[in-house]
């Protein structure tokens, strides 16, 4: 009897690994941490993928009165400008491709531009901030 209970727990434990939401490129799920790799766009990666602590960003931006729109933007064709996408958040690859297309910068420059620019600005403002160096984000696992 005891063995059977253990076996069921064991199966449940294995199941946790098999069916746990991977979240590698998850868009809908609110993951604690995202791994930005996008091999579907970049092909074989030249640098280690970037770990993005999503919750940390949400909390930090909320504290300073910024919303999700600080990173998540949409293009407003009428105004010809980027607008915060509060409530309509999408992943970067929805618009940004491997290379620049028209006004839409390539995915790599979009990431570097958004992440680094914000991190630098926040350092200047003496706010809590993130890395600004290559190896600060692209850490070998």
């Amino acid at each position: 009897m005891n063995n059977r209970v253990y076996f069921i727990f064991f199966l449940a434990w294995i199941g946790c690994f098999l069916f746990h939401p991977g979240g590698q490129h998850g868009v809908e799920a609110q993951e604690e941490t995202y791994y930005i790799a996008h091999e579907e766009v970049f092909g074989k990666l030249q640098r280690p993928p970037v770990t993005l602590p999503h919750n940390l960003h949400m909390e930090s931006l909320e504290q300073d009165g910024d919303g999700c729109g600080a990173c998540h933007h949409l293009y407003d064709a009428d105004r010809g400008a980027l607008v915060p996408a509060d409530g309509e958040e999408t992943g970067c690859t929805e618009c940004h491709g491997r290379t620049k297309e028209g006004n839409i910068v390539g995915l790599e420059n979009a990431y570097h531009g958004s992440c680094n620019r914000c991190h630098r600005t926040r350092i200047k403002q003496k706010n809590a901030s993130g890395p600004t160096t290559c190896g600060g984000c692209h850490k070998k696992q």
Partner: protein, 173 residues
């Protein structure tokens, strides 16, 4: 003069180069890679783009890594040559070792930072600092041959080229 400049730009183009084949090959590729690697390094391109919005071709990271190893090894070769070859040691001053160190250090620290060997931030800062020192020193030292090579070569070519001498004699005579 032009022929002298050109023949010194092509491997084995000059008599001096044909006498030292190993040095010629190491030196030729060293001079190519020491310029190509930093100019076309992807990480540097990212910085150019962030600061000035300009971007050009990038070497694959693996290729840049190999070229960096070659540059460091070539500097090792030059160092050993300065110590081991008597006629070279004879004309070597302490400043020659210092200049060699200045050239190799940005590559060493860049290599270490890229591979994450040693503490990352100190390595990156040393990479940037040693690179800046190198750039500052170029115009005030023998490293100026990066820009002035052609002028020095033209002068020497003009002085020792037999045809030029004949022409000068004729014009004087």
């Amino acid at each position: 003069m032009v022929r002298s400049i050109l023949s010194w730009l092509v491997p084995f183009g000059s008599g001096t180069m044909r006498k030292n084949p190993a040095l010629t090959l190491v030196s030729f590729f060293f001079h190519g890679f020491v310029i190509l690697t930093p100019v076309f390094l992807h990480a540097h391109n990212v910085l150019w783009y962030e600061s000035w919005g300009i971007q050009w071709w990038s070497l694959p990271e693996g290729t840049a890594d190999l070229l960096t190893v070659f540059v460091i090894a070539a500097c090792g070769f030059f160092l050993i040559r300065r110590i081991m070859v008597p006629e070279v040691r004879e004309v070597t001053k302490p400043s020659d070792f210092a200049l060699l160190a200045l050239v190799v250090l940005p590559f060493v620290f860049g290599f270490l930072a890229y591979h994450g060997w040693g503490p990352y931030r100190p390595m990156l800062i040393l990479h940037v600092l040693s690179g800046e020192v190198l750039l500052v020193v170029i115009p005030f030292s023998r490293l100026g041959h990066m820009l002035l090579f052609a002028f020095g070569r033209a002068q020497i070519g003009r002085e020792i080229a037999p045809s030029a001498g004949v022409l000068r004699q004729r014009s004087h005579g």
